[in-house]
């Protein structure tokens, strides 16, 4: 595992397991059967994390799984977002985050819909 993410990955996993923490997330996005393959990259390689909402629950898994979108960003950017030094939407609209859709919709469909989702995830991780 990328050493920069050592402390963050367990938090992400716990986020998936701790339903009480994600009530706001589910309230806003719980009706979606959507999933995201998050790819964090830097010189040491890629770390793949799957985040999704299935049957009204947030689930997080390490590794590569089928997803409706792929979100790719530098590891340092992800850490900056989690630490509150920037936010997902600013990074997205500055072109620092790549979003790819796998369900036939434009990437922007997911970009617009999920922009708020990641802000909430980052807030919870903080």
């Amino acid at each position: 595992m990328n050493p920069k993410l050592v402390t963050l990955i367990p938090k992400l996993i716990r986020l998936g397991l701790s339903k009480w923490q994600v009530q706001e997330l589910l309230r806003k996005y719980g009706h979606l059967n959507r999933s995201c393959q998050l790819i964090l990259y830097d010189d040491s390689g890629e770390t793949k994390i799957w985040v999704g909402i299935e049957d009204g629950e947030v689930k997080v898994r390490l590794g590569e799984y089928p997803a409706t979108t792929t979100v790719r960003m530098h590891t340092d950017l992800f850490i900056d977002i989690v630490k509150g030094r920037t936010d997902f939407r600013t990074a997205l609209w500055h072109g620092a985050i790549e979003v790819e859709a796998h369900d036939g919709r434009p990437w922007a469909y997911h970009g617009l819909l999920w922009a708020g989702f990641w802000d909430i995830v980052a807030e919870i991780l903080r």
Binding site: K28, H31, L32, D87, R89, T90, L92, W93, H94, G95, R105, P106, W107, A108, Y109, G111, L112, L113, A115, G116
Partner: protein
């Protein structure tokens, strides 16, 4: 030129009689929300389509989509041009509008965004060309008129904004009238237009487009 001012006031006027949607398609520099306000809730998904939230305009609900809803205040857009077109496609083709008509505030000029958007909405749409009656804007008007014909979007009217401010406005009006042969609506400038909605100033335009 006053495109946004015209669009928001026309939408507000039309909303007195119709269920109106509003799209601020100036992806790089959305400003319509400064007069219309922003929705208090985000766009949500229903039936695999985005559902635009509503704003309150003069006591009436108006469905509204703008990049201002999705971008933090003061953040600029620095994404690839094709991504911008993707945003437009999302707003037009993947958004469920439950309205009688939609007013679209287009970005300036005859750039890619305008061409692409006209291609998406033709032939359902009618265009209103908003300009100021002075020499510098004449060639822009003629270029845009040419693009409208190319994309087979009917021109419904021309708005001559700030008509009271320009000498030679009548000559400009005569040229536009002879070339485009559509109703011309003259709107005089008043400083209050920068501060608040004044839909009654656009009553004539509303009647013309309907």
């Amino acid at each position: 030129m006053g495109k946004t001012t015209t669009a928001v006031n026309l939408a507000a006027k039309l909303a007195e009689k119709f269920r109106v949607g509003f799209i601020d398609l100036d992806i790089y520099g959305p400003n319509a929300h400064l007069l219309l306000g922003l929705p208090e809730v985000p766009a949500v998904e229903q039936g695999e389509m985005l559902v635009p939230p509503a704003i309150d305009v003069g006591g009436r609900k108006m469905q509204f989509m703008s990049m201002a809803m999705f971008m933090p205040e003061g953040v600029g857009l620095a994404i690839k041009a094709e991504y911008v077109l993707d945003i437009i496609r999302t707003i037009i083709e993947f958004t469920r509008w439950d309205v009688d008509l939609i007013v679209v505030d287009m970005p300036p000029g005859s750039q890619d965004v305008v061409n692409y958007t006209l291609g998406l909405v033709a032939p359902r749409a009618e265009a209103i060309l908003v300009t100021e009656p002075h020499r510098m804007s004449l060639s822009d008007c003629l270029r845009l008129y040419d693009i409208l014909k190319l994309k087979e979007v009917e021109l419904a009217a021309v708005v001559l904004n700030k008509y009271n401010l320009f000498q030679g406005a009548q000559e400009f009006e005569r040229i536009i009238e002879s070339v485009m042969k559509v109703p011309i609506v003259k709107v005089d400038w008043t400083p209050e237009l920068q501060e608040k909605l004044m839909p009654d100033l656009y009553e004539e335009l509303a009647e013309v487009v309907l």
